[in-house]
């Protein structure tokens, strides 16, 4: 191969290398969510109630303890799992049971789910139970309008009004 042809060949190969990088650096485009769908993110970081109630120690029980250990209540550490049910237009789309973290199961329950849901106006119902009996005593039901690509986060923060939709 003569020098001129060699240079042209090199230029062509460099161009092919650059074109390969340039193309796959941005293409083909990816659809992060199916067309006509919105995204529901269910995120939870909440410590459930203690699995059993604290026991108030009697004076006799306290007397048996060392002076520095005489706490008035004896509270078991383990917490109840947190359960979240999500319904869309009356149909259950998620039923999450988040167990407490920690070796003694005394930490917060953490959970995360992502759900693609069709766009449109929906009736969304979120119920949460965080006691040992599994009582869904926190419920939020609302009509939501979900456009294509909308991300709706379902969260639970007792300090901010229980179940949040944002």
């Amino acid at each position: 191969m003569n020098a001129g042809l060699r240079l042209v060949s090199q230029a062509a190969l460099y161009a092919a290398f650059a074109a390969f990088i340039g193309y796959f650096s941005t293409s083909p485009a990816f659809e992060p969510i199916a067309p006509g769908h919105a995204l529901l993110r269910i995120s939870l970081n909440h410590a459930g109630q203690r699995k059993s109630a604290c026991h108030v120690r009697t004076p006799e029980e306290l007397a048996k303890l060392a002076p520095n250990m005489r706490a008035a209540e004896d509270c078991p550490r383990e917490r109840a799992p947190v359960r979240v049910k999500v319904e869309l237009d009356g149909a259950a789309i998620a039923d999450i049971v988040a167990v407490p973290s920690g070796f003694s199961r005394d930490g917060a329950s953490v959970a995360y789910r992502r759900l693609a849901v069709p766009t449109g106006v929906h009736r969304l119902r979120v119920a949460l139970a965080d006691d040992a009996a599994g009582t869904f005593d926190r419920v939020r039901e609302e009509t939501v309008t979900l456009e294509a690509g909308r991300v709706l986060v379902v969260d639970f923060e007792p300090g901010k009004g229980s179940i949040l939709l944002r």
């Binding site: 191969m1 060699r6 060949s9 090199q10 062509a12 190969l13 460099y14 161009a15 290398f17 650059a18 074109a19 390969f20 990088i21 340039g22 796959f24 650096s25 941005t26 293409s27 083909p28 485009a29 990816f30 659809e31 992060p32 969510i33 067309p35 995204l39 993110r41 995120s43 939870l44 970081n45 988040a98 973290s101 953490v110 959970a111 995360y112 789910r113 992502r114 294509a148 690509g149 909308r150 991300v151 709706l152 986060v153 969260d155 944002r166």
Partner: protein, 528 residues
């Protein structure tokens, strides 16, 4: 010598196909500049290019949740000198690094360079994609546009599949209150720290090669830089709208070199992606330990013939030879020592040893550092025996390499071939010896230039024949009767053509002029 064949892994179809492909690149780039033979060095080059452009754009980058996107937009607008160009070059050089690293891995695998003395390099090389991809993915979070948020969320969703996290990580990036300057400080820490970890892994990867080639030839570096710079000018990066936690874009221009894992996870599940990633790493890392490739016997030092000159130490491409204080009573300060775990069994050290000269008058030739699978003494006997059978106008001895083009098929009454472990195992004195033993010419046939099975063998072979590297061919040896050819396993036809051309050349010279005969042999070996 017969057992040697079983030690050499036969080239597989993938290896031969790749060699043919490299042959096409040889035509365009020449053997020395063929990018396939500099993939590791090109990876280093891309890394440094990425580092330099990264430092440049970091000057103008605002490390805050509220200012990051705007500062990148300002870069793209040209508010900072060469901002958009440097940002694009930063991205494309990072992409190019993935390409060359993957090509490097595939090439080494196709050539079965994953076992025996290469085990360490293979395992450390298999680890490299981990910090490489982590560094690149983390870089995509910094502009804090829609792509950044999508990539960050997908990454935390993947990590949240680890039972330890259970969703805690993603929670930090879907709440506007959590996306703050501290998070961006973490991003920057990761995007600087992980590349440093990558560099440390690259450093570890090259520890058992000597000398390590971390710089591509200038012409190749210039060509690569020009290609990436042209791409940066022709296709500047697109900054998407700022990250919005309440929406996802319909389509994202994904960088498939780094972000391929996100769509893969969407197609399966975070747990599925973990399974694929862990299985891939486990299989690749376990390959050297499951390999059946036999290990070539390591070089052996004969202290009685070693004067501690350190030429073997200088030429060993894998750092297997070290010079240590003398352990016997000979009057030399040092001696060579071979680490058998590092030795490739290439014989380049034997070619470098001045004691390998066949002119030594002992009945048997024992050199300072020798190859048990092909002792240099046996090579001398074979040369003497076979040179005597030569007949014709242009009698040729071919010193070949068992990893390069097949030389046995070149044999005919006027041509004999002696295949060594590497072309650089040929001591230059053997060439002079062959001429004095009756050959009219000597052809040394090694691997394609820069494509030595043992990394660098073709270089010392050429340099010794050119007289610029010790042990050098003596100036009195007629250079017109010597030819050096670089031909790979798929270059048999080209080597035959080269030999035929050499034959015609020799016929034009005075026959027998270089063959004054061999010196007499003593009964007792002597060295000194």
């Amino acid at each position: 010598m017969a057992a040697l064949a079983t030690l050499l892994p036969a080239p597989g179809p993938a290896g031969l196909a790749l060699e043919r492909l490299e042959g096409l690149f040889d035509r365009a780039f020449g053997q020395r500049l063929n990018p396939w033979r500099h993939l590791g060095a090109l990876a280093f080059f891309c890394f440094w290019l990425c580092a330099a452009t990264g430092i440049w754009i970091y000057v103008a980058f605002d490390t805050s949740a509220t200012g990051a996107w705007a500062s990148v937009a300002a870069l793209d607008r040209g508010d900072f000198p060469l901002g958009a160009f440097a940002r694009a070059l930063h991205r494309y050089s990072a992409d190019a690094m993935v390409v060359v690293v993957v090509a490097h891995l595939v090439r080494e695998l196709a050539r079965r360079h994953h076992a025996t003395f290469r085990r360490y390099a293979w395992v450390t090389g298999v680890l490299l994609p981990l910090p490489l991809l982590a560094a690149g993915i983390g870089g995509y979070w910094l502009p804090w546009d829609q792509l950044a948020l999508w990539s960050l969320t997908a990454t935390t969703e993947w990590l949240d599949a680890i039972p330890l996290f259970d969703g805690a990580l993603t929670r930090n990036v879907i709440d506007a209150g959590q996306v703050n300057d501290r998070l961006f400080s973490l991003f920057i820490f990761l995007h600087i720290g992980i590349p440093l970890a990558l560099l440390a892994t690259m450093w570890a990867h090259i520890q058992r090669v000597s000398p390590a080639r971390t710089q591509p030839p200038r012409a190749l570096a210039a060509g690569t830089l020009a290609a990436l710079a042209a791409l940066s000018l022709a296709a500047p990066l697109e900054l998407l709208p700022p990250a919005d936690l309440s929406s996802l874009p319909e389509r994202l221009p994904v960088d498939w070199f780094y972000l391929f894992a996100h769509p893969a996870m969407a197609a399966m599940s975070p747990e599925g992606l973990w399974a694929v990633v862990l299985a891939a790493f486990a299989v690749l890392a376990a390959m050297p330990f499951a390999s059946r490739i036999a290990r070539a016997p390591a070089a052996r030092v004969s202290l009685a013939n070693c004067n501690g000159c350190a030429r073997c130490f200088a030429d060993c491409p894998f750092g297997a030879v070290t010079m240590v204080p003398r352990s016997d009573d000979r009057p030399h300060p040092r001696e060579a020592r071979v680490d058998s775990a590092l030795c490739a069994g290439c014989g380049i050290c034997t070619g470098a040893c001045p004691s390998s000269t066949p002119f030594r008058r002992g009945e048997s030739l024992v050199t300072g550092i020798d190859m048990p699978s092909l002792p240099i003494g046996e090579a001398r006997e074979a040369l003497e025996r076979r040179a005597r059978t030569l007949e014709g106008e242009a009698r040729i001895v071919v010193f070949g390499c068992r990893w390069a083009a097949d030389t046995a098929s070149l044999e005919r009454p006027d041509t004999v071939a002696i295949a060594l472990l590497c072309a650089a195992m040929t001591p230059p004195s053997f060439i002079e010896y062959a001429l004095r033993a009756g050959a009219d010419g000597v052809l040394v046939a090694g691997c394609r230039e820069g494509d030595c099975e043992f990394r660098v063998g073709s270089e010392p072979a050429a340099a010794r024949l050119a007289g610029v590297r010790a042990p050098a061919l003596r100036p009195s040896v007629p250079r017109e009767r010597i030819r050096l050819a670089f031909a790979g396993r798929t270059d048999g036809a080209r080597l035959r053509a080269e030999l035929e051309d050499f034959r015609r050349h020799l016929r034009r010279l005075q026959p027998g002029a270089a063959s004054p005969g061999l010196p007499p042999r003593r009964q007792e070996p002597r060295h000194g």
